[in-house]
Amino acid sequence: MTRAAYHYSFDHEHLLSIEGLSPLDITHILDLADSYAEATRAGIRPDPVLKGKVVVNLFFENSTRTMSSFEIAARRLGADVISMPVAASSVKKGETLIDTAMTLNAMKPDALIVRHSASGGPKLLSRKVDCAVINAGDGTHQHPTQGLLDTLTIRRTKGRIEGLKVVICGDIAHSRVARSTTQTLHLMGAEVHLCAPRTLLPSGTETWGAASATTDFDKALKDADIVMMLRLQLERMDGAFLPSRREYFSFFGLTKDRLALAKPDATVMHPGPMNRGIEIESAIADGEQSVITEQVEMGVAVREAVLHLLAGGRA
């Protein structure tokens, strides 16, 4: 069925989590993002659907990559963008998240893109403002545009999502990417297997949509179509969670030999930033099977689609 053949309306006010989206919503976002990606590749300037709109990047946590990605997406669609690294501003003087939200709300923005170190931070803010709130990562909870961009990258690489075996390996416990991507891929029909050391593998991952959770990376890799490595939060490595980086790489690092256990045409992904030589061998990160740079490219396309749908009127 083509997009024109059915009546559909994207009825979400905010994008705070993958939970609450239907497969139809996700397909709609991905289709729109796909068209934006193709337009960019063809050098075509998209319609300025956000012309006259104000988009505020509100980052309570530093993230140059994600903030830039949203900023480029918003500018491509003609929005006026204000990027506020709030971590360095009045919040330090005791102003609360809600105070900041109320102040910004009074300036009548059309969308707030929020990153916050606390899970649920953007949700709290969404209750206090009148505009669309897009979660750009909250604590260890969700990073919905990352889940969508990963899914779009896979769909473009493999031509489908349904029936694919995806292995996500790394610091699952502290990863908002793992939660968002697992949920998105599950909703779209993929079989997602999570792999991590026991100390970084939370219980209850089946409710995220994971088909299995294991500590045996070699076993998990068998017949995998997609291998997604996650950033290991190095600050947590010494002491409580893992014995050493060396030991981690030995059991959970993606090497050439290990990748050979997956399907010959398996695709390698990583949300970045990478710890080369700890999570993944450089040769694989830069190799033919890697789509890591395409993930970054699709990030902009997905954010264009999301901003279009939430701040620019319905597509």
Binding site: T96, L97, I98, H116, A118, S119, G120, G121, K123, L124, D138, G139, T140, H141, Q142, A173, R176, R179, P202, S203, G204, T205, T207, W208
Partner: protein, 430 residues
């Protein structure tokens, strides 16, 4: 002044009384109970026709936090007591974690004196178990006991050093003092903000595992057995913790348990969309644990139910879940929370009232919490079926962060009496 309340459904969990009758009060004490009588006592100067409503002992609450002294913007003894009597609580114990900490006899006297002059309910101070609640040195338990402290506790900060706790227990045992301790192994639970499990994992929030409570309970119980100390395991939240206490008691130990009223009403899913009013410590557990806790209550294995009243000003709750303060205002919702267990079936009215009246009073050796001749005339007249909508703006506490906000509840206190004097009348009867 004498008072007769007649035509009432008299409920006394201490004696198992549940019959229509009349009560006669004189000089602050219960003088006579007349079963079957539906007319006023002949000598009474004042009379109230209860119209068949329930008359029960006022509630006795072993765990209330105020902010006085030091954090009065959160709650004062006066505001807490107004909220308490509106909820049917006529006696309560205030926790020592104020600023400064109640860890010497002058501060204990400050609380008792201030309560006498400003509060509508009877207030009993708990003394700090260690100076400044730092867990490093034993506080002056004996002097504080002589000044009116009824129990000794480190509040929300369990004494991490087992050796110090053991010494404090041994010392308290020699004085006959009671220690109340939160079973909580902080090295396991420390960074958690809600119940550990699948939901916490999905919400991206660090969890507080039940094992932290079990290990804390096992340690504290073992030390109480070793020292002969009377121990109250404060706010248990799992049936297994109750079982530890029961097993110790069967071996002869003096170990009691309390649980917060909201623990029977809510489960972890009520945290919902990061609702900080539902952020409490111990956290709301999963549904199976909640039901197990109700079973333990039904079997009489939980000795007392507390309000765990811990009011927090808005600036402490209007934050992302992980950063918000723990605690809920609870003085006005204890009775409806307990009555929900009656309306839903598991408990009889007397079973619901016992852990909030005579049993906590007995633990502290207080004469109230019962409707018997010569007991203090601390009483409530309530309608167990009266429906109401809990709206935080109508709660009388100074801070109104209640997980019950917006909930429909059943059961309302209409009149509250302390020493025979009416200290609260619901607007419908006032």
């Amino acid at each position: 002044m004498s008072l007769s309340i007649y035509n009432a459904r008299l409920l006394d969990p201490a004696s198992g009384l549940d019959k229509t009758g009349a009560i006669f009060v004189d000089r602050g004490k219960v003088k006579d109970i007349a079963i079957g009588q539906t007319t006023a006592h002949a000598d009474a100067k004042a009379t109230i026709d209860a119209g068949g409503l329930c008359l029960a002992p006022g509630l006795v609450d072993l765990r209330v936090k105020t902010g006085e002294p030091g954090v009065e913007q959160r709650e004062t003894l006066a505001t807490a007591s107004r909220s308490a009597v509106a909820g049917g609580i006529t006696s309560f114990v205030v926790m020592p974690d104020t600023k400064p900490v109640i860890d010497d006899m002058a501060l204990v006297r400050f609380i008792t004196d201030r309560a006498k002059t400003s509060a509508a309910a009877r207030i009993y101070p708990a003394g700090a178990l260690t100076t400044g609640l730092k867990g490093e040195a034993m506080a002056e338990i004996g002097l504080m006991a002589n000044s009116g402290a009824v129990v000794f506790t480190n509040g929300d900060l369990p004494v991490a050093n087992a050796s110090i706790l053991k010494r404090a227990m041994a010392y308290a045992a020699s004085l006959g003092a009671i220690i109340m301790s939160r079973p909580d192994e902080r090295t396991l639970a420390g960074s958690g903000v809600m119940n550990a499990g699948e939901l916490a994992g999905r919400m991206g929030l660090p969890g507080m595992p039940v094992e932290a409570e079990w290990i804390g309970a096992m340690r504290d119980t073992a030390l109480a057995e070793a020292t002969g100390c009377t121990l109250i395991l404060d706010q248990v939240s799992t049936p297994r913790t109750v079982a530890f206490a029961k097993a110790a008691r069967e071996r002869g130990a003096k170990v009691f348990t309390t649980a917060a009223a909201h623990s029977f009403f809510f489960n972890e899913r009520d945290v919902g969309d990061y609702l900080t009013y539902c952020k409490v410590n111990p956290p709301f557990r999963d549904e199976e644990t909640r039901l197990g806790l109700i079973d333990a209550l039904k079997r009489g294995e939980i000795d007392a139910v507390v309000s765990a009243h811990d009011p927090q000003p808005p600036e402490e709750k209007r934050l992302p879940f992980g950063e918000a303060a723990f605690g809920a205002a609870g003085l006005e919702t204890v009775l409806p929370a307990m009555l929900s267990l009656v309306h839903d079936g598991p408990l009889t009215l007397l079973e619901a009232l016992a852990p909030v009246t005579c049993r906590p009073a007995d633990m502290l050796g207080l004469p109230q919490g019962r409707l018997t001749p010569n007991a203090p005339a601390d009483m409530i007249l309530f309608d167990p079926g009266k429906p109401w909508l809990c709206e935080r703006e109508h709660l009388r506490s100074r801070s109104t962060n209640s997980p019950f906000d917006g909930r429909r509840l059943q059961g309302r206190v209409l009149r509250t009496f302390v020493a025979g004097e009416e200290v609260f009348a619901h607007e419908s009867v006032a």
